[in-house]
């Protein structure tokens, strides 16, 4: 267990962001060859922080492609759309000439339409662009002309790290409390004989599991309310979307997590074995679900594990509601995963209780 814990921690803690999906729309009139925009794009492609999902232009690129790329950001399909303007190279070269002659230079512009619901990712996109700008221009021209990176935040205008953390902490706290309470409660029920007594009453296994789900789901809901109110009052977090939808997301996670605790506990041969499930489930969830750093910062070989962790979907759903202001029509995939997780856990818990006989 300690080896497992330190291995996950070592591989995930403070990892660099990789493969942040971006679209690039290059409207630069200078064409593909010899333009500054092309050199910058070429340099961006040499590193793996950004994954250039699509490169449009310079031929046949139009402003409609820009609108289409922004729409991809709005839908959450990509993190950013990087747009080089029509006269980008021309303006930059003109500015370079002016600088060499000691004349004032008018800056040219790169517009980054970025989803800042995750400040780490937004910073990485702009940071990578700045690195490529400096490398390209210094190596080719020996000077850096004034180029402005205009950051247009599609989501998360004014969002800070606390806004990013709050949904993650809500989800994590709900999962930890419901999972641990359900394991501890079930161990208690077993060792004190109350489970045996319950199973000899007219109450069915399904009702026992359902009772646990409602009680612990309610605890998760109340706990999330407390975290939310504290975060708003003490840390002034901003919530763009429907708070009730965010709480409902946590409620589903709470039901599923308690079901998982119940299932593992009922299958454990001893109370000691049941308690050992706690770190096995909680530790990867804390580190791999995108609570403290983005999924994009998790190494490739561990990233698939993240998509098997329900907390990943709860955190993603909650962030989308609270920072992006998304509604049910956008977060239904996350809700569906969480509902399926909750339903599966409840059914398996009920089956597991029946199987104990």
């Amino acid at each position: 267990m300690p080896l497992f814990m330190i291995a996950i921690f070592g591989y995930t803690f403070g990892g660099d962001l990789r493969e942040v999906s971006v679209f690039i729309v290059n409207l630069d009139g200078e064409g593909a060859n010899g333009s500054i925009s092309a050199s910058i794009i070429e340099d961006l492609a040499t590193r793996d922080t950004l994954a250039i999902v699509s490169l449009i232009g310079p031929e046949n690129a139009s402003s409609s492609e820009v609108a289409s790329a922004i729409s991809k950001v709005e839908k959450g399909e990509i993190w950013a759309a990087i747009v080089f303007g029509e006269d980008f190279t021309e303006s930059a070269l003109e500015a370079l000439g002016n600088m060499r002659q000691g004349m004032p230079a008018i800056p040219s512009e790169i517009v980054v339409h970025v989803d800042s619901s995750n400040p780490n990712v937004a910073q990485a996109v702009v940071g990578e662009l700045q690195i490529s700008l400096q490398k390209t221009l210094v190596s080719e021209y020996g000077l850096i002309p004034p180029i402005v990176i205009d950051e247009n935040r599609v989501y998360g205008e004014g969002a800070e790290f606390i806004d990013f953390f709050a949904p993650g902490v809500m989800g994590l706290a709900a999962m930890m409390v419901t999972f641990m309470l359900s394991i501890v409660s079930f161990v208690h029920e077993r060792s004190y004989g109350t489970l045996d007594r319950l199973l000899t009453t007219p109450v069915t296994e399904g009702e026992i599991v359902g009772g646990y789900a409602l009680a612990l789901g309610f605890i998760a809901f109340i706990q999330s309310c407390v975290i939310l109110v504290t975060a708003i009052v003490a840390f002034n977090i901003q919530i763009v979307g429907n708070v009730l939808l965010a709480l409902f997301t946590i409620f589903l996670l709470g039901i599923g997590s308690q079901g998982l605790g119940f299932l593992l506990s009922s299958n454990a041969k001893t109370e000691f074995q049941a308690v050992q499930f706690m770190p096995i489930v909680l530790f990867p969830s804390i580190l791999l679900a995108g609570v403290f750093w983005p999924i994009e910062a998790i190494p490739d070989f561990l990233r698939p594990v993240s998509y098997f962790i329900p907390l990943t979907y709860a955190v993603e759903g909650c962030r989308s509601v609270m920072i992006r202001g998304w509604g049910i029509e956008e977060v239904w995939p996350q809700l569906l995963v969480l509902a399926a997780f909750a339903a599966a856990m409840l059914l398996l818990s009920t089956y597991s209780l029946k199987k104990r006989r």
Partner: protein, 248 residues
């Protein structure tokens, strides 16, 4: 005997009831015929199969083979479930709830109306002599008091057939006498009680005693019959005599 007649006469009937765990026999082909209104004591050392038998009868464990009938219904007795009371060895009460809350919780599980519950609670609290501690948390009660609460919870729905697994373990002698008074009172009211104990001396108070050893019922009869047949002066000696015969 036809099934209807058997249902009329016997609270418990088992046929070749057997339970194995990974090939290890816990209860071996048990045949029990316990008449209604009997105070039946199942005695034997630890590991003799008493608790496994009770758990199979109340539906907590599925037999490996054989069958059992409670009041004419094959186990698990779903139709008769509210006529059966069970007190597990571990007491099975919530220590973070009060005496009243425990009783109310289990009465709710049997869908007992509030009015009926209030009457039943007063009656049970009187029986276990805990009226004054009705509002106390169970965790604040002594071990003996917890046993009494556990017994009350098993009786809250006024069952006809009551299974008590080691009800007097850890109970002081004075309280044990009180418990046996309760058991006799319940039997007087027509209830069938099956209890397990490894205190041979107290089993002499039962109407019928079944002696178990290594999963087998080695002897059954009234305490006096068992002592007479073996020529023993007490049930413990009678048990040792039967155990010696079983070994031979």
């Amino acid at each position: 005997m036809n099934m209807a007649a058997a249902e009329e006469e016997f609270a418990i009937l088992t046929k070749d009831l057997r339970k194995e765990y990974d090939g290890l026999v816990a209860v071996s082909d048990l045949g029990l015929r316990i008449r209604k209104g009997t105070l039946y004591g199942m005695i034997g050392p630890n590991g003799s199969g008493k608790t496994t038998t009770i758990k199979m009868l109340v539906g907590l464990l599925r037999p490996t083979s054989g069958e059992a009938f409670l009041m004419g219904e094959k186990v698990p007795a779903v139709r008769n479930i509210d006529r059966i009371g069970y007190m597990p060895q571990e007491m099975g009460i919530y220590t973070d709830l009060s005496v009243h809350e425990n009783l109310e919780l289990f009465s709710d599980m049997y869908s007992i109306g509030k009015g009926d519950f209030r009457r039943r609670e007063a009656e049970l609290l009187g029986m276990i002599d805990l009226e004054e501690r009705k509002g106390s948390l169970v965790s604040h009660l002594s071990g003996g008091m917890r046993h009494r609460v556990s017994l009350a919870c098993a009786l809250v729905h006024d069952p006809d057939l009551i299974f008590l697994d080691e009800p007097t373990v850890g109970v002081d002698p004075e309280l044990r006498v009180g418990f046996w008074d309760h058991f006799r009172e319940l039997r007087r009211r027509g209830k069938t009680i099956v209890l397990t104990t490894h205190y041979m001396d107290e089993a002499v108070r039962c109407d019928v005693v079944g002696m178990m050893r290594q999963g087998e019922l080695i002897a059954e009869g009234t305490p006096s019959e068992l002592m007479t047949v073996t020529g023993a002066g007490n049930l413990e000696d009678a048990f040792l005599s039967y155990a010696g015969r079983a070994r031979a």
